[in-house]
């Protein structure tokens, strides 16, 4: 048996592990392999088709592992108060992230600085777990002088990168928690005529650190024409100021037509204009989530009313891509700059610490010697003077 397993070692051991775990499996072949391996541990399965090796099963394994491990995603929402950020997040993920919310009055807001509030929620859908962290930034844009608004936010993002870098360079890398901000929804006010100076300044400050997705809030304020005009205006201004927002990756050529069409539609609708709501309203005989006005009902999930569905689709289909871009682009940029700045490499940090310790000890010894010498001198002086001071003994 051992000999055969040695021989078989060249074959990818795909089926054996799956059989061992006894998974129900998503693949017929798994069951077949289970049965067969139970019969004869030495007799390995004949491939169903000649030349079939079996690593086509790999995606399923990855899928199973990922589902078990769960997914993590950190979303940051930035925008002035009152633009409906919390409502939108609640609508997107159908949860209530802010159960006891106290909205401060204007007088209190004058003195408030920007704070960072991160709330984590674990949601599960069909066995897939998502650990979602929403980073909120209350106080942004409230103050009369907003110059320092984004310093707090930028230092938070950098801190998360720093922490990840530190963990990655550490000795025990098994449980690195990824708290890096994968995506930032920037809420643009629909009341203005485009981007405000604060919007531009903020986006320029973080476009190299995080994926920015601009979102037009409270889109039910705008008629369709106004919406088109505003979107175009925002896109022009973004281009003018060279702001790098997150661009959806083009669909691969081997994807099906539907997906390509969907991607095309999504790309054409940026920035998304959304309306959030978790209230159920009765409209046309069925219950929909929406906002009830005297002149009609705005349905959140109606693509003709707003782009909420598109935003949700984008977030979900591209969650993986957002994480990848954060890892491959923003994190790597941060890392290379940080290491360049740091001088010596981070891996040698521990070694250097020992060196520093040794150096410090040597210095301490030197200083002690010096003190001993000085005291001896004083002693001699006193002896020549008084003949006292014999008690000045000390240890080196």
């Amino acid at each position: 048996m051992r000999r055969i397993s040695g021989e078989r070692a060249t074959r990818p051991c795909l089926r054996v592990p799956s059989a061992r775990r006894g998974d129900e499996g998503l693949h017929q072949r798994d069951e077949a392999s289970q049965k067969m391996s139970k019969q004869q541990p030495t007799q390995f399965i004949n491939p169903e088709t000649p030349g079939y090796v079996g690593f086509a099963n790999l995606p399923n394994q990855v899928h199973r592992k990922s589902v078990k491990k769960g997914f993590e995603f950190t979303l940051m929402v930035v925008g002035e108060s009152g633009l409906g950020k919390s409502t939108l997040i609640n609508s997107l993920f159908l949860t209530d992230l802010y159960p006891e919310r106290v909205i401060p009055g204007a007088a209190e807001k004058i003195e408030r600085t920007v704070q960072i509030e991160a709330s984590t929620v674990e949601i599960e859908e069909r066995g897939v777990k998502l650990r979602l962290t929403v980073v909120d930034t209350p106080g942004y844009g409230d103050a009369i002088n907003c110059r320092d608004c984004f310093k707090t936010i930028i230092s938070y993002i950098d801190e998360q990168f720093e922490r990840y870098l530190h963990d990655e360079s550490g000795l025990n890398r098994r449980h690195i928690i990824d708290n890096r901000v994968h995506c930032c929804f920037y809420f643009i006010s629909p009341f203005g005529h485009g981007l405000k100076p604060l919007d531009v300044a903020f986006m320029k400050a973080i476009h190299n650190k995080v994926n920015i997705v601009p979102v037009i809030a409270k889109a039910d304020t705008l008629t369709l024409k106004e919406r088109e005009r505003l979107k175009k205006r925002i896109l022009d201004e973004i281009e003018e100021h060279n702001i790098k927002i997150y661009h959806l990756p083009d669909a691969e050529s081997d994807e099906d037509e539907d997906f390509k069409e969907q991607t095309r539609l999504l790309k054409a609708s940026i920035p998304f204009s959304v309306v959030g709501s978790n209230q159920l309203i009765e409209a046309k005989g069925k219950k929909v989530r929406g906002r009830l006005y005297p002149w009609g009902v705005v349905e959140v999930e109606n693509p003709e009313h707003n782009d909420f569905l598109k935003l949700r689709t984008m977030l979900i289909t591209h969650m993986q891509d957002l994480q990848e871009v954060t890892q491959d682009l923003h994190y790597e940029n941060f890392r290379s700059e940080r290491l360049k700045r740091g001088g010596r490499k981070v891996e040698n940090e521990d070694v250097n610490k020992d060196q520093i310790l040794l150096e410090k000890e040597a210095e301490l010894r030197r200083m002690q010697e010096m003190i001993a010498r000085m005291q001896a001198q004083m002693q001699m002086q006193m002896q020549t003077g008084d003949g006292d001071g014999g008690a000045l003994g000390h240890h080196v």
Binding site: E80, S81, G82, L83, G84, I103, P104, G105, A106, A107, K109, I110, D142, A143, I144, N145, C146, R147, C149, S189, F191, G192, H193, K196, P197, L198, A201, K218, D220, T221, T223, L224, R229, R233, R291, L292, Y293, P294, W295, G296, V297, V298, E299, E304, H305
Partner: protein
């Protein structure tokens, strides 16, 4: 005078109020031009007529207010402008050979547009109103009120009213200037219930139920500007134009102006200005004859 951040619909509302193009419409300058770096003051004068009554209306717009990153003291240019108008009037008044009808360029009413966030006033709004409620009549208006549902609207209004009260901001009609009981009850009702008015402005007309109305067309319905169930534009219009127009002018003249005058005379040691130190040089303001809306 209309103030508030850009994009709150000030120009559209003023046009709707006077049912004519009295404000330099957004399409001509706002869409293409950049947000101005400092607060500018743009005054445009019109003569409008209704039923044989002519009115000289001057609309003063303040683009650039509250748009910058650092908005400290952005109310100073506005305060300066208002005081300059008072100064001008004062100088004319103390002139030895003065005109029979002094050209009145003073600001009678300031419509302050509050952004409909649904939460509360912004710190900038508070600061501005604190500084300016003492020199001019401020009427707070909630702009673009079609953003809020009915409950949100009433909640927001209550919160705004409370905040204004807590911070001691006296908006027009000020409680202290109610002359008799009748005025008081009427104004109390307006103050307690309707103000600040939540308005929607529009200069486009649509067909609703067979009539042509001013409104905004959205995929989920048409918002009628003059329908009291939809917004309070009609209330604002009646308040400012049909009932309280004269009162606005009187309060400006009798109270705000007199306060300014007293302060100036005191500063000048009891002497009328002109005989003493006069620092400011008045900017060339387009001369507007006194409005005659009797």
């Amino acid at each position: 005078m209309s103030k508030g951040q850009s994009g709150l619909g000030k120009s559209t509302l003023v046009n709707t109020l006077f049912k004519s193009q009295v404000s330099r419409k957004a399409s001509s300058w706002n869409r293409e031009e950049k947000i101005p770096k400092t607060v500018e003051i743009k005054a445009i004068g019109h003569v409008i007529e209704e039923g044989g009554v002519k009115m000289k209306l001057t609309v003063i717009d303040t683009p650039g207010f509250g748009d910058q990153i650092n908005n400290e003291n952005c109310w100073e240019p506005i305060e300066k402008y208002i005081n300059e108008q008072y100064e001008k009037f004062l100088k004319e008044e103390v002139n030895i050979a003065r005109k029979k009808r002094i050209p009145d360029t003073r600001v009678h009413c300031c419509l302050y547009f509050i952004s409909p966030t649904g939460h509360s006033l912004r710190p900038l709004d508070l600061e501005f109103m604190k500084h300016l409620s003492k020199v001019v009549n401020i009427i707070p208006v909630i702009a673009k009120a079609d953003t809020m549902t009915l409950e949100e609207k009433s909640e927001f209004k209550q919160r705004v009213r409370k905040e204004l009260e807590v911070n001691g901001i006296e908006f027009y009609p000020q409680k202290e200037f109610d002359e008799d009981l009748e005025d008081k009850t009427e104004n109390d009702k307006i103050r307690q219930e309707s103000m600040p008015f939540a308005v929607v402005g529009s200069d486009k007309e649509y067909q609703v139920n067979g009539k042509r109305v001013l409104g905004r067309k959205t995929p989920w319905g048409i918002i009628e500007v003059e329908n009291l169930n939809h917004c309070e534009f009609a209330l604002l219009r009646d308040f400012v134009i049909r009932t309280h127009l004269q009162d606005l002018k009187e309060v400006t003249h009798n109270i705000h102006y007199e306060t300014y005058r007293a302060k100036r005379l005191n500063d000048n040691g009891g002497l009328p200005p002109g005989e003493g130190l006069l620092g400011n040089v008045l900017p060339p303001v387009p001369a507007t004859p006194c409005p005659t809306a009797e």
